[in-house]
């Protein structure tokens, strides 16, 4: 490895470090990524940054441009239903997206625009709102380096990328303009993609008030390889990176604008954000071939057009060193039109199933009181209340019939944390929080709608024997009295009974030398239905991640930033008592800068392992036989192959 060849290297101070006061941790598993670690996190897109969340596994089953599927601490968060992510105070999960509630698609954010991330398993802070069930995260946006930045590159997956960004030398990271375009063929059929992003931001200072506004725009188109039956690969009728005909594709577009004011004066602080966004998503997919409909095929098209707007206000007051009061209000409104229909092999609609107008709003308020009565003892107790209002008109709905419906859903969520011995080598953390997820609007009926609620707790320990070593360990549990899932096929909320997730983690962050960070995390989760003790399907039970990161390492005229991520995922339980394979993957990113010039190398799947990103058991028929097998069969989505991407850049 590169960093072992530079034994006498020295480190440079970071070019520009923006240090913000962070909340005290509620869990030893929480993680803060600064700009250097963002650069050193392998992966192509902003979505890949979330992999840095301890205990999180994410999978991509439908091509380069669709939201990932997230798994965290025993939860199958599908496309973001249990993972609340925001950027600069703007919530990014999409409510009642036709493809999945809480749909979390970060492809619209240029990776180069992320300057930091707070990634938090568990939900223990009163400030976390909707979709905060398994965890939450907050992204900071900006351009880390001033000046003009150009980058052009390509990859062995027949991809190309061009990025141009500019930040005035005399302005902060929040002032920028950039465009980013990429396209590729991918390894194997049905994997093409094209993406264009544009972003602009302005920041400034008016007295004690920091002002910033930003806007992001994105359009992407992608093909989806879908799934393959493992038996077809075993028989040799399909190759590992093949795809069936008409497996799927998508068009995704999003625009988002935000305006943020941060004001600090004496013992008061105020942070307010207003935002508005537009979203368009069209997905075509077929995961079963001709199994359900032998004539037309099982392909469906989903469309989702949404307008959203919201605001939040956070106020802090610190009357004394040992006490503070923080509180906030937030709200959002979403208007969406969505459809779903069966399509034949030519793409023609033959079976309209959903045509729904949705108006969904939520309003929340929270208060939290951090106390530090003794230097070795601090705690914080908070309470969040939220109400969801849904007004929809089902013009077509194969599952629920047609007509209007109005529903509301309130929720009350207490949260608390306790920290002992914060300044000593051994710190103990204890936290509790109720997480919640709003009802998916399309499933509601007149009246009260069900809110998914979880009660989670965690006990963890941070040990710092010296300045170079952080050790951590913790145990967590999450209980849900009645798991509520939305069955897309039946268009109904299903209650699957009480569940519990118990788990533990151990980890270490070590700096053997100043320029190298070694981070190891092992998270185990045991998620079960309480009545039957059956395992919760798909949720990883054991995930081990080893990361190596260099920090501004200098060898002669070259400044290196590099990172690797090696992860091992144990077998996952699949529905019906089946299990997935073990996966082992290593990704690498290396960035070298010589004065104004940069060379970036990203390698996915260094060891070229044929790993299965997603595995599923169900019946399918991709041939169109008269009598298809009803026996569940193993299907998989191929994980990313070996791909090397090389980029050349100029920073002036």
């Amino acid at each position: 490895m590169l960093w072992f060849s530079v034994a006498f290297a020295q480190t440079l101070p970071s070019e520009e470090v923006v240090v913000e006061a962070k909340d005290p941790p509620a869990s030893a598993a929480e993680r803060e990524l600064d700009a250097t670690r963002v650069v050193a996190t392998p992966g192509r897109s902003t979505d890949d940054l979330l992999r840095a969340t301890r205990g999180l596994h994410q999978s991509q089953h439908s091509g380069h441009g669709k939201a990932f599927q997230y798994f965290l601490r025993g939860f199958d968060a599908v496309h973001g239903a249990d993972l609340s992510i925001s950027a600069e105070g703007v919530p990014l999960n999409e409510v009642s997206n036709v493809h999945g509630h809480g749909y979390l698609d970060l492809h619209f954010i240029p990776r180069q625009l992320v300057t930091g991330a707070s990634l938090r398993p568990g939900v223990f802070r009163a400030s976390v709102g909707d979709f905060g069930v398994a965890g939450s995260g907050e992204l900071s946006l900006g351009l880390a380096n001033p000046g003009l930045q150009l980058q052009i590159g390509g990859g062995t997956d027949l991809s190309g990328r061009f990025t141009m960004a500019w930040r005035p030398a005399d302005r902060g990271p929040g002032t920028f303009a950039m465009v980013d375009a990429e396209a590729g063929h991918g390894v194997g059929p049905s994997r093409k993609w094209e993406q264009v992003r544009a972003a602009v931001g302005i920041d400034g200072q008016i007295g004690n008030t920091a002002v910033r506004t930003f806007a992001l725009a994105y359009r992407g188109r992608f093909d989806s390889p879908g799934v393959l039956r493992e038996s077809d690969v075993d028989k040799g009728t399909r190759r590992f990176y093949d795809a069936y005909d008409n497996a799927g594709d998508g068009v995704s577009a999003r625009a988002l604008a935000g305006f943020r004011l941060e004001h600090r004066r004496n013992d008061w602080s105020l942070d307010s954000t207003a935002w508005a966004g537009w979203r368009s998503l069209e997905l075509r997919q077929n995961f079963t071939g001709f199994y359900v409909n032998a004539e037309q095929g099982d392909a469906v098209v989903q469309t989702h057009e949404a307008l959203s707007a919201g605001a939040r206000l956070v106020i802090g007051w610190t009357p004394a060193d040992w006490i503070a009061v923080r509180g906030g209000v937030d709200g959002r409104f979403d208007h969406a039109d969505q459809t779903e229909a069966g399509i034949d092999t030519t793409g023609k609609v033959w079976d309209p199933r959903i045509d729904t107008r949705i108006d969904q709003s939520s309003m929340g308020a929270w208060v939290s009181v951090p106390l530090r009565p003794r230097p070795w003892f601090d705690l914080e107790a908070g309470l969040r209340t939220q109400v969801f209002l849904m007004d929809l008109d089902r013009r077509i709905d194969a599952g629920l019939g047609t007509g209007p419906a109005k529903a509301s859903a309130p929720v009350l969520a207490p949260r608390a944390r306790l920290r002992l011995f914060a300044d000593s080598p051994v710190t103990v953390l204890l936290a509790y929080g109720r997480g919640f997820r709003s009802p998916e609007a399309r499933g509601v009926e007149q009246g009260r709608a069900p809110v998914s609620k979880s009660d989670g707790t965690e006990l963890s320990v941070l040990v710092r024997p010296d300045d170079h070593v952080d050790l951590r360990a913790g145990a967590f549990g999450t209980w849900i009295s009645n798991e509520i899932v939305f069955d897309h096929a039946a268009a109904r909320f299903l209650t699957t009974g009480a569940t519990r997730r118990l788990g533990a983690y151990v980890g270490a962050t070590v700096h053997p030398v100043a320029w190298l960070e070694v981070d190891l995390d092992v998270t185990a989760s045991d998620g079960r239905y309480r009545a039957t003790q059956e395992l919760i399907p798909y949720a990883p039970r054991l995930l081990a991640v080893l990361g190596l990161t260099t920090e501004a390492l200098v060898t002669g005229p070259v400044v290196w930033t590099a990172g690797t991520r090696t992860w091992w995922l144990g077998p996952r339980p699949l529905p019906g008592g089946f299990a997935s394979h073990t996966q082992f993957v290593t990704d690498v990113t290396v960035s070298a800068r010589v004065r104004s010039w940069t060379v970036d190398l990203d390698i996915d799947n260094v060891f070229a392992s044929r790993w299965r990103d997603g595995e599923f058991f169900y019946a399918s028929d991709f041939v169109g036989t008269d009598s298809p097998s009803a026996l569940p069969a193993r299907h998989f989505t191929a994980g990313s192959p070996f791909v090397a991407r090389l980029g050349f850049g100029f920073r002036g």
Binding site: H61, V292, V300, A489, V506, R541, L542, A619, P632, H635
Partner: protein, 215 residues
């Protein structure tokens, strides 16, 4: 060590075993009002399935036990089918027939099913009562699925069943009919009274079929 133990997930293993149709134990059947001496009996059957649980009465996607993945490959359910033999067979109900090899997964089996896909069913013979005898020529087409045939079986890949045996209790299948020559043509056919419906009901009735493991 505890963390590593959590990495262990029991997974169902595949297994195979043969299945055959077992002939009628006797060509003389006791049917309502008399006896039926069977000279010939044939039936077409199709796909056999073994399920983990009784099938719901309402179909989800046409087949109540079938799995699906329509919206998303993470939203499907695996279905309750754990064993299957796809095919079509022309059974001589008076003779045994090797049906083939079942592909299955480990686990509990509670029921089986037989598909009757526009199945031709023929029963010929002589119906005898105290008052006389009538030639019997019953021919009809049956379309449906015989579901919930009881089968209490725990499949294990280490000790697969030696053989499954499928029986049709023909007397039971024919027991719902009144057995009268209602059109007085001198023979009993499906044109006599409610034969058409009652035979259809009888053949698709769970009680007419038996699935068992060879002892």
């Amino acid at each position: 060590m505890i963390l590593l133990l959590l990495a262990c997930v029991d997974a169902r293993r595949p297994l195979t075993f043969p299945i055959r149709y077992a002939e009628l134990p006797s060509a003389t059947l006791v049917v309502p009002g008399g006896t039926l001496q069977v000279d010939a009996a044939t039936l077409q059957i199709s796909d056999l399935h073994l399920q983990t649980e009784p099938s719901a009465s309402t179909a989800f996607w046409g087949f109540p036990w079938a799995s699906s993945a329509v919206a998303h490959p993470g939203h499907e359910f695996a279905g309750s089918v754990r064993g299957e033999l796809i095919g079509e067979w022309d059974l001589d109900l008076l003779a045994p027939t090797e049906l083939g090899v079942v592909d299955a997964y480990e686990g509990s089996i509670a029921t089986g099913s037989v598909l009757l896909d526009e199945a031709q069913w023929v029963v010929r013979g002589t119906y005898t009562t105290a008052s006389g005898s009538w030639p019997v020529d019953l021919q009809l087409t049956v379309d449906g699925v015989v579901t919930n045939i009881p089968l209490d079986l725990e499949l294990n890949a280490d000790t697969p069943p030696a053989e499954l045996v499928l029986h049709l209790d023909l007397a039971q299948a024919l027991s719902f009919s009144s057995w009268q020559d209602t059109d007085a043509d001198g023979s009993i056919t499906v044109q006599d009274g409610p034969f058409l419906n009652t035979m259809n009901f009888g053949l698709t009735s769970t009680s007419s079929w038996v699935l068992e493991e060879t002892p």
